[in-house]
Symmetry: C2
Subunit: 187 residues, 2 copies
DNA sequence: TCAATATCTAAACGTTTGTTTAGTTATTTT
DNA sequence: AAAATAACTAAACAAACGTTTAGATATTGA
């Protein structure tokens, strides 16, 4: 055999993910990726095929990162309170290590909303639909709510999440907390 | 003297503005601008100096476009109801001629939030602060509200506007209406 | 130890970006 | 009508983009 890789793919993808998280897809260049991942262009291409390939792996990496939070959310049984806790957890991840960068999936959804890239676009739409159905499940725990109200509230919460994604980029964590509290005042 | 311009600057800037509105700054190229404005690169540069110059003029053009709506909002005297009407008016502009494109100023605020371009960034921050103070003024019309509540609600409405900007890119006008109604349920 | 071979470095690839330049065309005023 | 000059067309610019290639380096198994 021959030489072994001098990097671990999972590790360098985590670095790439941080970059995409902060800057988005288009505003992250191969040059920036090289520097952050600390490996050569060639290595990136031999491991991941393309910038697009690095991005797809980064999305998976992000999903793994937040999977525990999602599992906790799925398995919780307190209805609306679970959604609120989920919002707080989402925000905490944004501010960890002092970095404001929103939610990678929500930002990507936004960046690719008008894109020709059906692969990423469809994946993000599936994510949003999945999130909405989770909201619906939690809202249904309140048996006094009719389906029409549930539908509206689920949509409202989804859009609130979009607002949150923007807000975590430009607002303080304190302001975010107020925002979350107010969002749930009328749910 | 000599030849006159074969285009009217206000008219071609309106075209450019439509492009920036739909695609944002980075995703609008000079090539696209040439085609949409229907004039040559040289003419663009001789009139506006740079792509950045075209963008600044486009922002002004957008502001003129929405100035009537803002004036109506400023001069109204029904408190929270005025903010709600303002939200509906903002959305209507997004959907006119069937195009979904959010709010140029809010999108620009988002796109330039991490940018080195202090000129645009500061202008957008000033816009957001101005909008917030307008919200505060309307909220103060309800004399039973204390200043702390007003501050929180103004922030909430500002973030709701961010959510709206995203939503008008990907949701139907009907869903947006539900969203607005729910936003004001707890104000 | 040494041939085999995967990974490394570094340079160059073709596009596309925003911008500039040189040269032609058209209109105005004298 | 003709000189003057502003606006036009079209080609080329340097820089940055994502991607590929050629050749050097280092590590493996026999």
């Amino acid at each position: 055999m021959a030489r072994k890789k001098q990097y671990i793919e999972e590790e360098v993808i985590d670095k790439a993910m941080q970059l995409f998280w902060r800057n988005g897809y288009e505003n992250t260049s191969m040059q920036m990726l090289e520097k952050k991942m600390n490996i050569n262009k060639f290595s990136i291409y031999s491991s991941f095929g393309s910038k697009h390939g690095v991005f797809l792996k980064s999305l998976q990496c992000y999903k793994r990162k937040v999977s525990a939070m999602f599992e906790k959310f799925k398995n919780a049984t307190n209805g609306v309170e679970d959604i609120k806790a989920f919002f707080y957890d989402s925000v905490d991840i944004c501010y960890q290590d002092g970095n404001q960068k929103g939610c990678l999936l929500t930002s990507t959804y936004h960046e690719f909303s008008q894109s020709e890239d059906k692969l990423v676009k469809n994946e993000m739409e599936a994510f949003m639909e999945n999130l909405k159905s989770l909201f619906v499940n939690k809202l249904r725990m309140d048996v006094t709510k009719d389906e029409e109200t549930i539908e509206k509230q689920a949509n409202f919460l989804l859009l609130a999440k979009h607002g949150l994604a923007t807000a975590t980029r430009v607002n303080s964590q304190r302001e975010i907390q107020d925002y979350i509290e107010m969002t749930f005042n009328n749910i």
